[in-house]
């Protein structure tokens, strides 16, 4: 038994040494780093696209199709969770957290809720100017709804409204992509005028897509939290 363990460990060690050696020999595009892909992005993005936040430009413009896939993965995950918890929700129909928060908690969360929603909206509307974007803004909005759901025992959000908002946002994203195909020849081609740097209405399709992503992520995560809170064992 002990001999077997020693054998396995030594075999793994030999394998690890060989793997490390092989991985060290690979370049992983080192010469491109030295030539300056990062410089290309950092210089080209503000000049050509008039977008101050380079990360947003890469995520939405250069790699927009990946973002569509990411949003789809999130949608599938929330749908799966909703379908797993579906039965319990409809049989019981009551919240697992049955008691309301204290006076301080309810008053404070009522005061904080609009500010949190405003911060989330700011983050995803200004995604091309300041750090942040659709995903972050959506999560901040979902956190605001979470605060209200935990403070009030009888606070509820409509699943129909949430799914309508989510579907409309997804349709907007796909429609923008198809319009780009009509105008420029490829999916999610940038077809709107770019405007000038540091303007709110600049950057082509980036603000529209990020607003859609913000609504979508916010609605999805709010629905997920609501489903999880309503689940009762």
């Amino acid at each position: 038994m002990k001999m077997k363990k020693i054998l396995v460990i030594s075999l793994l060690a030999v394998f690890g040494v060989y793997l490390t050696e092989a991985l060290f020999k690979l370049d992983f595009g080192r010469q491109f780093f030295q030539q300056g892909v990062k410089d290309f992005y950092l210089v080209t993005t503000p000049m050509k696209l008039q977008v101050a936040n380079v990360v947003t430009a890469i995520v939405v413009n250069f790699r927009g199709f990946d973002t569509l896939g990411e949003v789809t993965v999130l949608f599938l995950a929330t749908t799966a969770m909703g379908s797993i918890l579906y039965k319990g929700r409809h049989q019981l129909g009551e919240r697992a957290v049955l008691f309301s928060g204290s006076r301080i908690v309810t008053t404070g969360s009522r005061l904080l809720f609009p500010a949190i929603i405003l911060l989330g909206a700011y983050v995803f509307i200004h995604g091309h100017l300041t750090p942040g974007g659709g995903f972050q803004g959506g999560v901040i909005i979902a956190t605001g709804f979470l605060l209200m759901l935990m403070a009030y025992a009888d606070y509820s959000v409509s699943h129909i409204v949430l799914s309508v908002v989510e579907s409309l946002a997804g349709i907007t994203f796909a429609t923008i992509g198809l319009l780009g195909m009509l105008h420029g020849g490829s999916f999610l081609q940038d077809f709107l005028p770019n405007g000038s740097l540091n303007d709110l209405l600049s950057g082509g399709i980036i603000p529209i897509i990020y607003i859609a992503v913000g609504f979508k992520v916010g609605a999805e995560l709010t629905g997920l939290i609501y489903t999880a809170l309503n689940e009762k064992d």
Partner: protein, 95 residues
Amino acid sequence: MIYYLILIFFLLLLMIGAAIYSIVQKDLLYAVIGTGLISLVLSVLFLLLQAPDVALTEAAIGVALTTIIFIITIRNTVRFEDEVYQKKPSKTEAK
């Protein structure tokens, strides 16, 4: 510069400590708070390393949302790690 490095090393040590704490801890609620602390320190580190986008994501998702979902899960299941085994007598005790 040296203060910056000391700060980064302190934050890394804090992260490792929180990770070990959340593995060792038997009370799952405290363990979840430990993972939340890891995410909080990690978002500060991302901010220090000049990646504000990632820092914002980590703060929103790692600190708030994941922690809350884990707490809801603990609320609906068991709080202590060996609570399931305490309810049923184990095989060695039965013998």
